[in-house]
């Protein structure tokens, strides 16, 4: 069961990262520059989570998946670049707990 949740977590996190790349592409040149550091951080933390899952599993809970859904909703609804950067940073911190 926990392995299924781990896999769901990685799939959802991949979707969130894709959403961030979509937002990056839609942004103007200045906002692309501003968004990039937090996206890179999120990308690095997702790699770490994937490596942990690959080696021994990360033991995701249903509450974790709910938290990730909430972060995704925040990213979807981000009204401006600053809000998007804050939500992306939250996403990176969330992923860092699975290492």
């Amino acid at each position: 069961m926990s392995e299924e949740l781990d896999i769901t977590l990685v799939k959802k996190a991949d979707e969130v990262l894709q959403k961030l790349y979509d937002k990056y592409e839609e942004a103007d040149q200045a906002d692309k520059w501003m968004m990039e550091p937090t996206i890179l951080k999120a990308r690095e933390e997702l790699l770490n989570a994937k490596l942990t899952l690959f080696k021994e599993g990360v033991l995701t809970t249903n509450q974790d998946l709910e938290r990730l859904d909430n972060i995704k909703a925040e990213i979807d609804a981000a009204a401006n670049t600053q809000a998007l950067i804050m939500s992306t940073a939250k996403f990176a911190v969330f992923l860092s707990t699975f290492v």
């Binding site: 799939k11 979509d22 592409e25 200045a30 520059w33 690095e44 790699l47 770490n48 899952l53 690959f54």
Partner: protein, 285 residues
């Protein structure tokens, strides 16, 4: 390769005593399991490294972004370190190094299996004791290899570069830049196909390794009673499998791995070994 291997085993049969000949043959199988496992692990490492590759920006892109951000948000938003990070390649390999470090930790268990048997031909009492004990380590590593294939199958490692290109592609469609979008789609398709090929190769190598692990595991289980001809017989069937695997359909490969996975998750012995931490098995209590 196959002839050399059989010749080596036959030579052992002719020129050595019974127990030493068995020990040498066992060591040969252990080495073969190590090399096949490490080949599979190398293939997964490459998939991980490919997954984090992102193309660097051109100087034109860097100029467009920095000039825009300075005009919109002020000079403080572009630091010298920001510029160095964009241009310098010094930090490009940081994620690759992280991946290498993690995979080197994984490799230890497979190298340990072979090292355990290296002293066996010399008749080490410790090594003989470890014959049965290390059977569990082989089992644990086989479970681990099968898990790798399952995880990669369920969470594919398509690269960040493909994901970024896909975002650009969608944006081009919205902007009605169809010609540019078609060219980018071609690049995305090539990169997806290239990943799929490497992924299928990783699964094939995994199945080869797990089958060799099974041979080693069975030899260890009946080490006292087994004869050199038994060892030759099981290694021969291994060679027959290697010669056909490259032509085997990927779905058959997956079926083979799933069969192992089902066995490992349903049988009491494999469940028990799967739940023991590697360091506990290694201590051979």
């Amino acid at each position: 390769m196959k002839r050399t291997y059989i010749f080596m085993l036959l030579s052992l049969l002719l020129f050595t005593g019974c127990s030493q000949e068995k020990a040498d043959a066992l060591l040969t199988v252990a080495k073969s399991y190590e090399s096949k496992s490490l080949a599979a692990i190398d293939a997964y490492e490459e998939l991980f490294k490919d997954s984090v590759y992102v193309e660097k920006k051109s100087n034109d892109e860097i100029f467009n972004q920095t000039s825009s951000v300075i005009k919109k948000y002020g000079k403080d938003k572009v630091t010298f370190q920001n510029l160095v990070d964009e241009i310098s390649s010094r930090n490009d390999k940081l994620l690759d190094k992280k991946i290498e470090m993690e995979f080197n930790k994984l490799r230890v268990i497979y190298e340990k299996i072979r090292k355990t048997y290296e002293s066996l031909p010399q008749g080490s009492i410790t090594a003989v004791k470890y014959v049965s004990c290390a059977q569990d380590i082989v089992a644990k590593s086989m479970i681990q290899l099968t898990n790798f294939s399952t995880i990669i199958d369920k969470t594919p490692l398509y690269s960040d570069n493909i994901k970024k290109d896909f975002a650009s592609y969608k944006n081009m469609i919205v902007k009605k830049e169809d010609d540019k979008a078609k060219i980018l789609l071609e690049k995305i398709a090539n990169n997806i196909n290239s990943y799929d090929e490497k992924y299928e190769n990783a699964l094939k190598l995994t199945l080869l390794a797990v089958k060799e692990g099974k041979v080693l595991h069975e030899l260890l289980g009946s080490y006292k009673d087994i004869t050199i001809s038994d060892i030759l017989s099981v290694t021969q069937s291994g060679f027959d499998f290697i010669s056909t695997i490259n032509k085997t359909d990927i779905n058959k490969i997956k079926e083979g791995l799933t069969a192992f996975e089902t066995q490992f998750s349903s049988e009491e012995y494999w469940q028990r070994v799967g739940n023991i931490p590697v360091f506990e098995i290694e201590s051979c209590k």
